[in-house]
Amino acid sequence: MAEDEDLQLSLFLLYGLAYGSLPWLDAAWEWHPDLIATRALLERAFEAQMRSAVTVEDPPRAEREAVAAWLFAATAPGPGPDLARFVAKSASREQAREFLIQRSIYTLREADPYSWAIPRLTGRAKAALVEIQSDEYGGGDPTRVHATMYAQAMRGAELDDRYGAYLDDVPALTLASQNLASMFGLNRRMQGALAGHLAVTEMTSSIPNRRYGDGFRRLGFGAEVTAYFDEHVEADAVHEQIAGRDLAGALAEDEPALLEDVLFGALACLRMDGWVGDHLLSAWQDGRTSLRSAPQEAIRP
């Protein structure tokens, strides 16, 4: 499912109707009954694949600190080769630009999948999510909106910063990664999974982003490109504490029935990130493009 081009592109477009991220999709289709029914059908298959792809071992008690500790243990950085180390030490300039293209499907709309949960949460979990999202959206400074900083990084690397400009170039897995967060965000029954997904996203960000920044500096990209990565080293060291304890941990403590889905969302995010990372790394180590088309065509603005 995650590598099925038709399924993932279809889901991505159906979610695009809700986000309004693709201006060429008619807003009048957003609640079209046939499209909603189609979305539910595709989601069922995708959700079933993700649920069968992960196994929760030694679940914690539904207590704030125990859940946070479990999430930090599940995301503990390992010593092995990974995408961030490859970008830091070995990636070519073209691979670095390809990396920016791959990430743009999420990062030009950064944080948006998680905002769907705001009106559905209450109390301390809601306060925690809004505290994180406020920082993601610049804390009142439009130049510090993370998606805006990413657009600046793309322009700095002479790439097209319009949302979806590279939609035809990225593989199904890249869309699947975004679709997973959108599915958790747009389905209220999966809000526990969304909280777990956000916690893992934040917990696996600071250290890799330092390496991405180092890689882009090594390759001679300017501050307009590296500022995005540096911002995430600092911001996500704050966000991971809030997301682990005050969002995911507190949510599981306040609503113990959601614990199982918090853990599922966390592991599903880790598994998906693993698939995406393996895809990019294996393509580049074999000297292939990670995109669907040849890079010289794909990255021409």
Binding site: E65, A69, F72, A76, P77, E131, S134, D135, G139, R144, S205, S206, I207, R210, E231, V233, E234, A235, D236, A237, V238, E240, Q241, I242, R245
Partner: protein, 71 residues
Amino acid sequence: MRGDDPVTLTACPDGPLIVRGPATFQGEDGEPVDQPRRTVALCRCGASAIKPWCDGTHKLTGFTTGHDDPR
């Protein structure tokens, strides 16, 4: 955020100190430290490359705060 709101420090087990509220950060020389966000994490393990802020390095060094943290 109002000036008379309290400043709170939260000690995260095995992690940084989270600071909320109208705190001002300054270096030894009295010069203000640029604080780009409302809620910040102060390094507690000593290994951060962006001190005074946390950069997550405590997760690589095995830093622990023991069991006496205020919870």
